[in-house]
């Protein structure tokens, strides 16, 4: 991967939604939905983003495409910093970067035909004639496996899977390089999920696409992603190649997440030692002092409640932000905390 070109570079992205209150509606605080996130996506790869509900995955995805205005940080896509682009320049840049949305019903305009939905970007960004546009629409419908006869139907006449295909065809219309898939399979049946994921993979091969794949389905991310970033409360706690992350998680939160993946074998399921996190995710408007995860971490240490951990490269391409790593380095690989840590890792290894 290291030889490939960086298509997307996100540096210290912050997105805070202001909270207004009081008599004069002054800003009294902020929901720190994304609070200092940095990552790169290489050309042709899929970066999976996982995390529980409300951890800022979707917000991060939207902010990367500047569907939300970032509070701070830079986003470079294809060599251009889009966080500073003005409205018109940004609009011109839109064809390069597209998004597949979570809810295939709500994200399609109910009053437009399929051909209208897929073809609208062409009206806006090309000066093709009608025939050429229609040809392109049919081509895209073929690519995502939709019958051409459906071009004049409205979204309500389709099933969820078909609607998601419309959404994907729409995203592909202008030959984008980079697509953010915001939980594209969350609203679909399991049988349809596989179809859509396979379609996304086929299209990636066919058109050399780069994906940012946001999901809370860890097995699906393992299947599709090349690298995975784990988010918790607006920050990336661990980022690693998919194999390394699943086999050898460094962050206690990643361990907990992975242990929650359902086990298909019932006998193994009974034996499985789950790490059950206590309590709820803290409010992103009032994150805890120190490490964001310190309120629920099973391996919490005094230092975690004081100082936020730095992100460091544990192994080549494997980044994690946890004080345990420092402890491990000091105590050596056989040290107390490290051993405990390794045991859990072994468990994960067996399951996989």
């Amino acid at each position: 991967m290291s030889g490939a070109r960086k298509l997307v570079e996100v540096k210290d992205l912050k997105l805070h939604f202001p909270i207004h209150g009081g008599l004069l509606r002054r800003q009294v605080g902020a929901v720190k939905a994304v609070d200092g996130v940095s990552f790169d996506i290489f050309e042709g790869e899929t970066l999976g983003i996982v995390g529980e509900s409300g951890c800022g995955k979707s917000t991060c995805g939207r902010a990367v495409l500047r569907l939300y205005e970032a509070t701070e940080g830079s986003i470079t896509i294809d060599g251009q910093d889009i966080s500073k682009l003005s409205g018109e320049a940004l609009r011109k840049k839109r064809p390069t970067m597209q998004m597949v949305f979570q809810d295939p019903q709500a994200s399609l305009n109910p009053r437009m035909t399929v051909a209208g939905i897929i073809g609208e970007p062409l009206d806006e960004h090309t000066n093709w004639d009608r025939r050429k546009k229609l040809e392109r629409i049919y081509e895209l419908m073929d690519a995502v496996g939709l019958n051409r006869d459906f071009a004049n139907r409205y979204p309500h006449a389709f099933s969820g899977g078909q609607r998601q295909r419309i959404g994907i065809a729409r995203a592909l219309a202008l030959n984008p390089k980079f697509i953010v898939c915001d939980e594209p399979i969350a609203a679909l049946d399991v049988s349809i999920q596989a179809q859509v994921v396979n379609l996304l993979e086929d299209l990636q091969q066919q058109f050399g696409l780069t994906y940012m794949f946001i999901s809370h389905d860890l097995s699906m991310v393992r299947h599709i992603a090349d690298r995975v970033a784990v988010m918790y409360l607006g920050v990336i706690v661990e980022l690693a190649p998919v194999q390394a992350l699943y086999d050898n998680p460094m962050h206690p939160y990643t361990e907990a997440l992975l242990s929650a993946v359902p086990e298909p074998d019932p006998s193994a399921e009974v034996r499985k030692d789950r790490i059950v996190l206590q309590g709820d995710v803290p409010s992103p408007s009032n994150p805890p002092k120190g490490c964001n995860f310190c309120t629920r971490c099973p391996k919490v240490m005094p230092i975690c409640r004081e100082i936020p951990p730095e992100t460091q490269e544990v192994a080549p391409g494997h980044f994690a932000a946890c004080h345990l790593i420092d402890q491990q380095q000091i105590a050596g690989p056989t040290g107390g905390t490290g051993q405990e840590h390794n045991q859990t890792e072994n468990q994960q290894g067996e399951e996989a």
Binding site: R62, L65, L67, G87, R91, K92, K93, R94, P95, Q98, M99, F101, D103, A106, S107, L108, N109, P110, R111, T113, E120, P121, E124, H125, Y154, H156, G167, R170, L174
Partner: protein, 336 residues
Amino acid sequence: MFTYTLRRLLLAIPTLLFIALAIFLLLELSPGDPMADMPLTIPPEVREQMRLALGLGEAWYIRFYKWLYMFSIVEPSYVLANMTGIESLAVEGQRIISFQTRSPVADIVAQRLPQTLWVVGLSYIFGILVAVPLGVYSAYRQYSWVDQLGAFVSMVGFSLPTFFTGPLLMLVFSIWLGWFPIIYDTTLVVDSLQDFGLQLRQMAMPVFVLTLYNAAQINRFMRAAMLDNFTQDYVRTARAKGMSEKVVVLVHVLRNSMIPVVTVIALGIPTIFTGAIITEQIFRVNGLGQLLIIAIYASDFPMVLTLSMVFAILIVGFNLIADILYAVLDPRIRYD
């Protein structure tokens, strides 16, 4: 769609018949005597003959049937003959006669209609022209000063009745400032630029009062519908596609927000014809609303019945038009 429209039109016939009967019976039961205005010196037997001459001697169902025949056959044929200028279209027969003026009701309505259409119709058009763009902008820039101002003006328009704003405007603009005449002069013939200016000046206040009222209502509906749609996911999709804001707002959001607004506008159109009864009274615009009020005072049953029926037909008709427009605006609605 065609069969649906046809079915609705057929269903409208029994509805309207029932409405006609209900109004007729209500008038029949109401106190009041068309002879009440006549001098008391008229001897009772003469009075009785006058009653018979007005057709009041017959049983109610015969009178109802006769009125129905005249209303549905004779009067439309005369109206048609007048409009086309072909005399032979008119069906021979008794016409509906007003008790007050002893002239055909349709002719009086035809005289009154232009005033009402000008004043009330114009205020309705102005209301839409002000309210729709303001509603769109208010929703687009929610909580901006334009939105706040629109909300304030709408609240004023909603909560202040026309019988308050009307006299208030008269006091300020007619009495203190002397810009506009208090009384609307229907006899004014506009044939010179000066008369045209006069006409504009006498229309200004009633039109303004009604525009404020209409705009307040439509503006709130427009804004609410737009806000509903702005938060929808497909709007984000449209922005992600790289559509310009103009396309996002006017094509995606506005079109999807039109249904409630079209309902309000379509259902409000009959009120243009019924006239704004109160406003017409205040400004002495002798339109249809004023005609109806005077007819009720005078127990002019044929006039009241005919006018009420015309209004009922308009309301049923525009309801149907609104329903058909739904299907045009929303492909999910199909009437087959």
